[in-house]
């Protein structure tokens, strides 16, 4: 009789082991996909940057490429969010991916600004600083507001940064804007940082340019800026 009890225990442990292994392998695959995606975006940004430098006075028709790049970055952001939820925000792999993602965001931000200046465009950039270390209870709701805004205004570009990420380029970006540790914080079109939770109406009032950029195209974005 005890053999039956033991066999049942071994098989149950086997099922648990298999479930654990499947979770591990799929998370590993996710990380690999994010890594590959980051490499692709990195090449795309480098290519756009090089093209910009080569041409000097870029033909403005090519700026659509940068828009597509921004969309890829958004997708990458939401995928990274899934990985962070699954593996935890302190996971080394996640931290490394987040750093690379933040670098790509900064590079895209710089490039997009340069293109906008050359092509006399008036895009709206929002740098959003959040924390998911438990010290920012309003960050989740602020993320909801920005995600919804981006769905309503496709021209709006939101770059989300984890304030506590140990990345020198990010620290430089913060110090340029004299950012204080009061989260959530928004930097809209390089103006003075705005601190604390802002409702949808507040943010719309803070960005009057949105009305001008609204193309009435109610495209839906696929990503979230919250983590």
């Amino acid at each position: 009789m005890w053999k039956r009890y033991l066999l049942a225990l071994i098989l149950t442990l086997g099922i648990f082991g298999s479930a654990f292994y499947m979770e591990y392998r799929l998370d590993e695959q996710r990380v690999a996909m994010i890594r590959a995606s980051e490499n692709d975006i990195s090449i795309d940004i480098l290519s756009s940057q090089t093209q910009f430098e080569l041409l000097g006075n870029l033909e403005c028709g090519t700026t659509t490429q940068s828009t597509a790049l921004s969309s890829e970055l958004d997708t990458l952001g939401s995928r990274l969010s899934v990985a962070e939820n699954n593996l935890g925000s302190k996971n080394d792999e996640v931290v490394s991916l987040k750093k690379q993602y933040s670098l790509l965001e900064i590079k895209d931000f710089i490039l997009a600004q340069q293109i906008a200046a050359k092509c006399h465009q008036k895009p709206v950039f929002v740098l959003y600083f959040y924390s998911n270390a438990g010290d920012c209870p309003d960050c989740s709701r602020e993320g909801d507001v920005l995600t919804y805004l981006r769905q309503q205004y496709p021209a709006l570009r939101v770059y989300a940064f984890d304030y506590h990420l140990d990345l020198s380029a990010l620290r430089t970006l913060s110090s340029i804007h004299e950012l204080k540790e009061q989260l959530p914080a928004l930097i809209i079109n390089n103006r003075q940082p705005v601190y604390g939770f802002k409702t949808l109406d507040d943010v719309e009032a803070l960005i009057p340019e949105l009305k001008a950029t609204a193309t009435s195209t109610k495209k839906t974005a696929t990503s979230s800026v919250t983590r």
Binding site: M1, A8, F16, E23, R79, V82, R141, A221
Partner: protein
């Protein structure tokens, strides 16, 4: 990992262990198919039909007993009217022309008193109980008697219970549950740990009552308590999976919850009365496995349901709070259809494994009892059961805490 998630893992581990254990039991000792052999000896049988306001079903119940393939002079049908206020007496009256049908009327005292009354007023070797809302298949009694004959140490036998004409969604759900029960009961028979002798068509050798005494009130679950007491006295209970009985089941949520609350609360209160049998090697697999697992399943069901409800309410509450304070108009979230966004956590795979094993158990139950279930039945079971069961678990727990007696019928 927080304590809630850890608790869910423990629940799933024990649940899976139990399912694996039963499946091993099945493959070690596969239940034999029904054969056409007949018993060499036909013991006298008294079929007791305790009834209280059963005017709708009593006639069909008696008809099913009269249609049993069994020597007429060896079978008597005894209707014990437990103080019915409806037309039960009138409906039974025509049947009394048959010398093998008897009718007794007594003051209402509860089902167990009706059964004890029947035992006192009969002399047959085998005492059978059949609820007045159940119908036996024609060869049901023969199959039970064959089982008694196969092993003289068997003192009581349970049948394979099926749902009578399931049509409504809740009845279909119970049809799957009862089929799972057929598998479950057969496997418990394999390990001598059957914990209930259900009202619909359980049979006892008369000496059982001489050894363990009559039925008790037992928190309105006399059919469960007598099984506890039989294990206490080392009397063997078996299952005849080839003897089919069809029983009517509640078709409304309210009636179902009321019935199941009575069963579950009875289990809790009887467990308390017989707590010394838990983890007691003296009572074999009944004490070591069936009782502890039953109680654990009760607690696990409540815990998991509470955990899921808490998360659902937290999520919905969070979304409502977010929408209300952010001033974002209500809108549907954008669905992600790529596998990347699917929940592939260990918990998901374990939940799939648990549901998969339950499905296998139901299929095996179907096979051994020659039952056929529709796809709709499976859907209703997997969609509804998890939502309804926690209601009666919670009510039973609350009732047991307050020690409030549940009622078996509208007495």
């Amino acid at each position: 990992m927080n304590i809630g998630v850890l608790g869910v893992y423990v629940c799933i581990f024990v649940g899976l262990y139990f399912e694996v254990f039963l499946l091993i039991s099945f493959f070690e000792k596969r239940p034999p198919q029904k054969t056409k052999t007949l018993p060499t000896y036909y013991p006298t049988v008294s079929m007791l039909v305790p009834s209280y306001n059963e005017e709708k079903t009593i006639a069909a119940t008696i008809d099913s007993l009269l249609a049993l393939q069994y020597p007429e002079d060896r079978l008597e049908i005894v209707v014990i009217d437990d103080g019915s206020k409806d037309r039960t007496r009138e409906i039974v009256a025509p049947y009394l022309a048959n010398p093998h049908v008897k009718y007794f009327y007594k003051e209402n005292g509860g089902k167990y008193t009706a059964l004890n009354f029947g035992i006192e007023h009969t002399t047959a070797e085998i005492i059978g109980c059949l609820d007045a809302d159940s119908f036996v298949s024609e060869d049901g009694l023969i199959e039970m008697v064959k089982k008694f004959e196969s092993d003289p140490t068997i003192m009581a036998i349970t049948p394979a219970m099926k749902v009578y004409r399931p049509r409504k969604l809740l009845e279909l759900m119970q049809a799957v549950e009862y089929t799972f029960g057929i598998f479950y009961k057969k496997m418990f028979d394999n390990i001598s740990a059957i914990s209930v002798l259900p009202g619909p068509f359980s049979l006892y050798r008369r000496e059982v009552f001489a050894k363990v005494g009559p039925f008790h009130h037992a928190h309105n679950t006399e059919d469960m308590e007598i099984a506890f007491r039989m294990h206490l006295h080392g009397l063997k209970i078996a299952n005849a999976h080839t003897a089919y009985v069809h029983t009517t089941v509640p078709s409304s949520v309210r009636a179902l919850v009321k019935q199941r609350t009575r069963w579950a609360q009875g289990y809790l209160q009887n467990s308390q009365d017989y707590s010394y049998m838990y983890f007691n090697r003296q009572y074999g697999n009944f004490g070591m496995l069936a009782l502890p697992f039953g109680l654990f399943a009760f607690c696990a069901g409540l815990f998991t349901a509470s955990y899921m409800l808490y998360h659902l309410l937290t999520y919905v509450g969070g979304r409502v709070y977010s929408l209300a304070t952010t001033h974002i108009p209500p809108h549907l979230p954008h669905p992600h259809l790529e596998w990347f966004y699917f929940d592939t956590s260990m918990l998901t795979f374990l939940a799939i494994a648990t549901v998969g094993m339950t499905f296998v158990a139901v299929i095996l139950g179907q096979k051994i009892s020659q039952t056929s279930l529709s796809i709709k039945s499976f859907f209703s079971y997997f969609l509804l059961f998890g939502f309804i069961a926690p209601i009666w678990l919670a009510r039973a727990a609350w009732g047991a805490i307050r020690s409030k007696e549940s009622v078996w019928r509208e007495q």
